[in-house]
C-alpha cells in the first residue's frame, strides 16, 4: 500500500461527507435561487428574478429586521453574562456548581424548551400570568398573540437557553488569567472594579470577540424555538429569515425562492462574521 492510498483512506470518507453534504449544498442554494421550482417538478431558469423579488419583498425585510433585532439583543445581553461571570470567577464559593446549574437549559432541545415556554406564557394558566394575577395585575397580555410583545417574549427563552453557555465560556477564560497578574495589580492598589475593567476584560478580549460573533451569527440563523412557539406569527410579527425560508420552501413549495432566501441568509452570516472581525480587530494583541 502506498502512502497516498493510506492518507486517502483516512481522510476521504469524512472529506467527501462534508463536501457533498455541506459545501455542495451551499453552492447549490445560490444556484437554485436562479430557478423557478416547486421542489418536485422541473426547474426553469429565471435568472435573477428570485433575487430581485427578494429585494422588494417586504416580508423578507421584516423577517430580516426581526433576525437583526434578535442579534443585537443577544450581543447586548453578553454584557450581563460577562458581569455574572466576573462575579462567579471572583473566588465565590460554589462557583463550579452554579455555572453547571446555569448550563442545564442549554443542553435541552429547542423543541422541549419551546413547548415548556408555551406553557409558561399560557394566557390563563401559565406560570407568568398566574404570577401576575397573584400580584394583582389586571388583564395580563397573551404574550405570544400580541404582535408588539411576541418578539420580546420569544427573546426571554432564548436568553434562558444560552445564558449558561456564555457564562461558561467567560468563566473558563477568566479562570485562565494567571493569578500573578491579578496579585500584581492588587499590590499596586487597584480596586476590584478597576482590576476587572483594566486587566481582566482586556485579557479575555479575544474570547469576547468570539462570543460576539457566536451570538450575532447564531441569532441570524435562529429557527427551532420560533418555529415551534409561534410559527412566525401572529401575522409575521415573529417571522425570522430561517422560518421565512422554511415556509416559502416547505409550505408554499417555492423552492427556488426559498433557496434564494437561504443564500441571502448565508451571505448575511458571512458578512456579519467578516464585519465583526474587522470592527473588533485591534493590532495590539495582548500577551501575558
Amino acid at each position: 500500500m502506498s502512502n497516498k492510498f493510506i492518507i486517502a483512506l483516512y481522510v476521504l470518507p469524512a472529506l467527501l461527507l462534508i463536501l457533498v453534504l455541506i459545501y455542495v449544498p451551499i453552492i447549490l442554494t445560490g444556484y437554485y435561487g436562479l430557478m423557478k421550482w416547486d421542489g418536485i417538478g422541473d426547474m426553469t431558469f429565471i435568472g435573477l428574478d428570485n433575487y430581485i423579488r427578494l429585494l422588494n419583498d417586504q416580508q423578507f425585510w421584516r423577517s430580516s429586521g426581526h433576525s437583526f433585532l434578535l442579534a443585537i439583543f443577544s450581543a447586548v445581553s453578553l454584557i450581563g453574562y460577562l458581569v455574572i461571570s466576573l462575579v462567579l470567577a471572583a473566588k465565590i464559593k460554589g462557583a463550579n456548581l452554579l455555572r453547571k446549574l446555569y448550563l442545564i437549559p442549554m443542553l435541552l432541545s429547542s423543541v422541549a424548551i419551546a413547548q415548556l415556554w408555551l406553557k409558561i406564557y399560557h394566557p390563563t394558566n401559565g406560570l407568568l400570568n398566574s404570577f401576575l394575577y397573584s400580584i394583582n395585575v389586571a388583564n395580563p397580555p397573551a404574550w405570544l398573540a400580541e404582535p408588539s410583545l411576541v418578539l420580546g417574549a420569544i427573546f426571554v427563552p432564548i436568553i434562558w437557553q444560552y445564558a449558561g453557555f456564555y457564562i461558561l465560556i467567560y468563566y473558563a477564560a477568566l479562570k485562565n488569567i494567571p493569578d500573578s497578574v491579578i496579585e500584581a495589580a492588587k499590590i499596586d492598589g487597584a480596586s476590584p472594579l478597576k482590576i476587572a475593567y483594566m486587566i481582566k476584560l482586556p485579557l479575555i478580549m479575544g474570547v469576547i470577540k468570539v462570543t460576539i460573533i457566536l451570538a450575532i451569527v447564531g441569532s441570524l440563523k435562529y429557527f427551532d424555538l420560533i418555529y415551534v412557539m409561534t410559527g412566525g406569527g401572529p401575522n409575521g410579527a415573529s417571522e425570522v429569515i430561517a422560518s421565512y425560508m422554511y415556509k416559502q420552501a416547505f409550505s408554499s413549495y417555492n423552492f427556488g425562492y426559498g433557496s434564494a432566501i437561504g443564500f441571502a441568509l448565508l451571505l448575511f452570516c458571512l458578512l456579519a462574521t467578516v464585519l465583526i472581525r474587522k470592527l473588533t480587530n485591534t493590532d495590539d494583541e495582548i500577551q501575558y
Binding site: Y10, I84, L103, M106, L107, S109, Q115, K119, L265
Partner: protein, 293 residues
Amino acid sequence: MEVSERQEEKAEQKNDRSFLGTIGYVILYLILGITAFFQIYPLFWLVLFSLKSNQEVFNASPFALPIEPRWENYVNVWTQGNISLYFFNSVWITVASVALTILLASLVTFAITRMKWKLNNLVLGLFMIGLMIPVHSTLIPLFDFFLNINLIDHPLAIILTYTAFNLPLTIMILLGFYYTLPREVEEAAVIDGSSVHRIFFQITLPMSMPVISTTAIINMIYNWNEFVFINTFISSDRFKTLTVGIQNFIGQYSTDWGAIGATLVISILPILIAFFFLSNKIVEGIAAGAVKG
C-alpha cells in the same frame, strides 16, 4: 493626572473595598442566586405540572405541589402514544451518528497530525470553515439530494447529515488532544514494524479515549436535540425521533397538560442523567468547542 484627582481615586478604591467586603458579597450572591433560580425553576415547574391532572392545572395554583402525584401520566404517554418508539429511534440514531462521527473524525485527525501530505492545511481549513456554515442554507439542496437518491424518509439521510455537520466540531476538539499526545509509543510501534492501521486502532485510538468521551457526550446532546433535519427529511412515524415526535404528539393532545409535561420530561431525562454523571466532560467539551472556534 492632578493630585486631587489621584486622592479622590484612592478614596474611591477604599470605598470599593469596604463596600465589596460587606454588603457587596450579599449582592453578588443575590445576583448569582436569582440567576440560578431563573435557570432552574421553569424545569422544576415542568416536573410539577407533569404530575398533575388537568383539573389541578386549571383550577389550582400553578405554583402548588401536585396533591397526589399522577405517575400514570408517564405510564400513559409511554404506552399509548408513539413516545416509546420515538425514544428508541432517538437512541439508535444518536448512537449510530456519534459512532460514525467519532470514527471518521479520528481517522482525519490522525492523518492531519501524524502524516505528512501536501493538502493537509487545505483539508483542515475546509473542516474548520464548515463550523461557520448556517445549517438552514443547506436545507433545500440537501432535501433535493436525498429525494433524488431515494433517501428521503430514510434514517440513513439523518445519520449521514448529523455526521457531516458534527465532524468539524469533533475534529476541532480531537486536534487539541492529538497535538499534545506524546508520540513515543507510536514511534516505538513504527520501529517494531507495526502497520499504520495497527498503530491507529491499537495505540492512538485507545490513548485518545478521554477526549473521545468528551466529543461523544457533546455529539450525543446535539444529535438528541436536533430538530430541523429530522423534521424536513423524515415523514413516517417509524423513523421519527423525540424532538419531532413530541412536536406531533403535543399537537394532538394540546390540552392535556399532564401528558405534555410527562412527554417533555421523558425527552429531556436522558440528557439530565448524562449531565448528572458527566457534567465535567460536558463543560469541557462545550468550552473547547466554542472558544477555539
